[in-house]
Homo-oligomer: 116 residues x 2
DNA sequence: CTAACGTATCAGTGGATAATGATATGACAG
DNA sequence: CTGTCATATCATTATCCACTGATACGTTAG
């Protein structure tokens, strides 16, 4: 592939930004914990707070991030707000990442020594 | 922690850190550009600099990050150092993310207005 | 050996962001 | 209406990270 092709295919205005943003939503342990709590069930904020042990404002903030990244969706139910994964593929992405980690764990683990 | 431990115990506390780290490697536009340059070919640093337009120290730094995250591998070849994707599944992950984005692009795009 | 080149690292800077406590908004019970 | 609860936002702080220019390291050429 040439540089020009890369420019044409991949550097569409903000495709890279969108991809980066999606992955950024997945790049924080707290958010991954929250997503884990949502894999099986739809939950409200308090339940997530209890499940994760994180502070309530912190959870709300992360949920906003996840919502903006398109990783979760929300619906109001009385005083409660219930969150769930936006798409089954969100869980798939995490699972695929785990499988990749199982293969490349050496490299990830030995972060400091990567000499050839 | 050894790689074996990681494989044995995917739900250990540190697993979240590893997952987060993997996704963090994918969460930056510059790194995604670099990975795009490596999808088709193995390349050395200079070539990547040329393809991406990023500064050489910047590229080296991102490559170190990608290496630590297990997303690329490297091999020395004379004065040059050639980088390639660590696993075909790295490209798969990015492609899957794109497909997810194609479905949820509205939510990702309209970051500021998500009222229910 | 010396020079030139490829790559990595260092120091400094600006900007993003995660966590927390305080507070605001909004809905229900009575 | 009033108080209470669920959630969101604000302000602050500390930390992390991307980028840049300068420089160090290692290899090849001559």
């Amino acid at each position: 592939m040439t540089a020009q092709n890369i420019q044409d295919n991949l550097s569409a205005p903000d495709t890279l930004e969108l991809r980066a943003k999606l992955f950024r939503g997945l790049s924080d342990p707290s958010r991954l914990t929250i997503l884990d709590a949502l894999v099986s069930d739809e939950r409200n904020v308090q339940e997530i707070v209890g499940h994760t042990g994180l502070g309530q404002p912190n959870v709300s903030n992360h949920l906003r991030c996840l919502l903006e990244c398109g990783l979760v969706s929300r619906r109001s139910k009385g005083r409660f707000v219930r969150y769930r994964l936006a798409d089954r593929r969100v869980a798939d992405l995490i699972r695929d990442a785990d499988q990749l980690l199982a293969s490349t764990a050496n490299g990830v683990d030995a972060c400091q020594s990567y000499t050839d």
